[in-house]
């Protein structure tokens, strides 16, 4: 396994390098700059220039890039330009919220996706299957920003059982934190859960039509056990791969959901930072997200191999 990880390392680093260049270049291409944002709508050109210089934005681009990467390598993310505070602190504050939201959503994705998929693949009940189809279609058709508003209207405004937004960290107050987490996590999870459910249904269907299932049927093994112990372990590996990809989507999709639920995560920070052209924050954040994505892919592969004995670390 170590050999496998070592082999994956260069390409992962290559992706990160590409990502850093891309982020850096794209940000410089985007019109508007942090100095103008900081200077405000009523500032003079002189004020803007002074701010520009103080931020080091007059340096040549390679120097700015080197400064950024150098800082990263020495663990110093530097100050935020336009939001205030140190980049590391800003990201550190948001990361807990985002991890919480993503994991919560992931849990929903797995639970709902598994439920959707199992019902779709195995239930003989037409009504139940129809209901699941309507649910998954709805989850796929209604954009998260609508789902979010609807969920808030229903659970917070009409029923008044859950808070409409905001966050209490799960670790400091689990009972309250869960209540804050439920709606955003559900909203974020729904489309992915639907995708996963459809995929799982398909994957189980495929596994159930394999020869080894016929072997097991011929040996008199009961259908329920056939499904859980024989077909499912084979259906899971590709689903895990999809789940890995969906985790990426969850991280990326958090921008919208975090805004709707006033969830102070990295998505909101990223949007804020981009809107204000806070280069260091955007750069570090995006690089972080890419790193996480690469790591998730790696973990996915490991899980995939763990589930499928045919794959070994070679």
């Amino acid at each position: 396994m170590r050999g496998y990880l070592l082999r994956r390392l260069p390409s992962a680093l290559f992706v990160l390098l590409l990502a850093s260049l891309l982020v850096f270049a794209v940000l410089r291409l985007v019109p508007g700059d942090p100095a103008a944002v900081l200077a405000g709508p009523d500032a003079s050109a002189e004020a803007e220039a002074a701010i520009r210089a103080s931020l080091g934005l007059d340096d040549p681009l390679p120097a700015q890039y080197a400064r950024w990467i150098g800082g990263l390598l020495t663990g110093d993310l530097g100050p935020s330009y336009a939001i205030g505070g140190r980049t590391a602190d800003l990201i550190g504050d948001g990361i807990g919220a985002t991890v919480e939201l993503t994991l919560g959503a992931l849990l929903f994705v797995i639970v709902l996706g598994a439920a959707f998929g199992m019902v779709g693949a195995t239930s003989r009940n037409r009504w139940l299957r129809g209901t699941v189809r309507i649910l998954t279609t709805g989850a796929l058709a209604v954009p998260p920003f609508v789902t979010g508003v609807l969920l808030v209207l229903l659970f917070a405004v009409l029923l008044g059982v859950l808070p409409p937004g905001g966050r209490v960290p799960l670790l400091t107050a689990p009972d309250l934190g869960v209540q804050y987490l439920l709606l955003p996590a559900l909203c974020l999870a729904l489309p992915s859960a639907a995708v996963l459910g459809r995929y799982l249904e398909d994957s189980i269907g495929r596994a159930l039509s394999e020869d080894y299932v016929r072997t097991a049927t011929a040996a008199g093994i009961a259908p329920r056990r056939l499904l859980w112990r024989h077909a499912l372990p084979n259906a899971l590996p590709p689903v895990v791969t999809l789940l890995g990809m969906q985790t990426g989507h969850l991280l990326g999709g958090a921008v919208l959901v975090e805004a709707i639920f006033a969830w102070p995560g990295l998505g909101q920070l990223a949007e804020q930072a981009l809107v204000r052209r806070d280069y260091p924050v955007v750069q570090d954040l995006l690089l972080l997200l890419v790193t996480v994505f690469v790591l998730v892919q790696l973990v996915t592969d490991l899980v995939h191999a763990w589930l499928d004995p045919r794959i070994r670390w070679e």
């Binding site: 390409s11 290559f14 992706v15 999709g253 921008v255 990223a270 981009l274 997200l289």
Partner: protein
Amino acid sequence: MTTLAAAQKAPLDSRTGKPRRPRHPYRAALATARGRTGLGLVLLVVLAGLLAPLLAGHGPTDQSALALAGPGTPGHPLGTDDLGRDLLARLLHGIRADLGIIAVAVPLGAVLGCLLALAAACHPLADTVVQRAFDLVLAFPGLILALAVTAILGPGRVPVILVIALAEIPVFGRLLRTGILVQRGREYVTAARVGGTSGGRILTRHILPNAADPLVVQFAVSLTVAVFIEGAMSFLGVGVRPPEPTLGAVLSQSMPYLAQAPHFAAGPLVTVTALVLGLSLTAEALSREIRR
């Protein structure tokens, strides 16, 4: 099931006694109940979009003092929006605009993705580079990308199309790459090579058509994803240039009024649902028929 398989291999036409030409699997798929329902829904939406200028009684950007009128208002069957524009007109033209976008963006993404996958198939180094590039695009948060692209290019259809295409490139690219790898090991490829067929022709004429099946299914899926991306971009204010309506634009404009004027959001939601349902049914029908 060798017996059955063999029996189905060479069906004979009951009338002529000659071997019957089996229908193309795509056509067979669309002839199933599932495929027909799916296609019907999609066509319904497409027709609404195509006939928008005929069906809509008002211009989609014509404003009036009659703001937020409810459905059933004389002259405004679906009501009006906050600026007094006819919602039916905006919905139909919104569909039209969305169709225009996804009909360009998804094929563009698919073609580019496929080209890259083909390039990757030519050389191991190219393969590595292309794969990592795909990883990179997949890893990049899509909405941030959308914000950046629009900021650089300015508003309009082009950035929306680009963002959608960009998001679709790795999806199609990876899918085709896997397909190529699988097909490459097939014996007919060796046969073509031994038969003197050049590498490029093997790739394009032999492997590509056989690796295309999952792409066709993905295409239907990607069309729905594209509608989604358009909506999210409109919501973030980086969609198509206002006041042109798109489904996403109308939907995001309706959000502040969800509580007081739910009809505002209903049109696009129903349309998108029909489209998603139709496309997913079509995709399912296709994938079932292909897997046979």
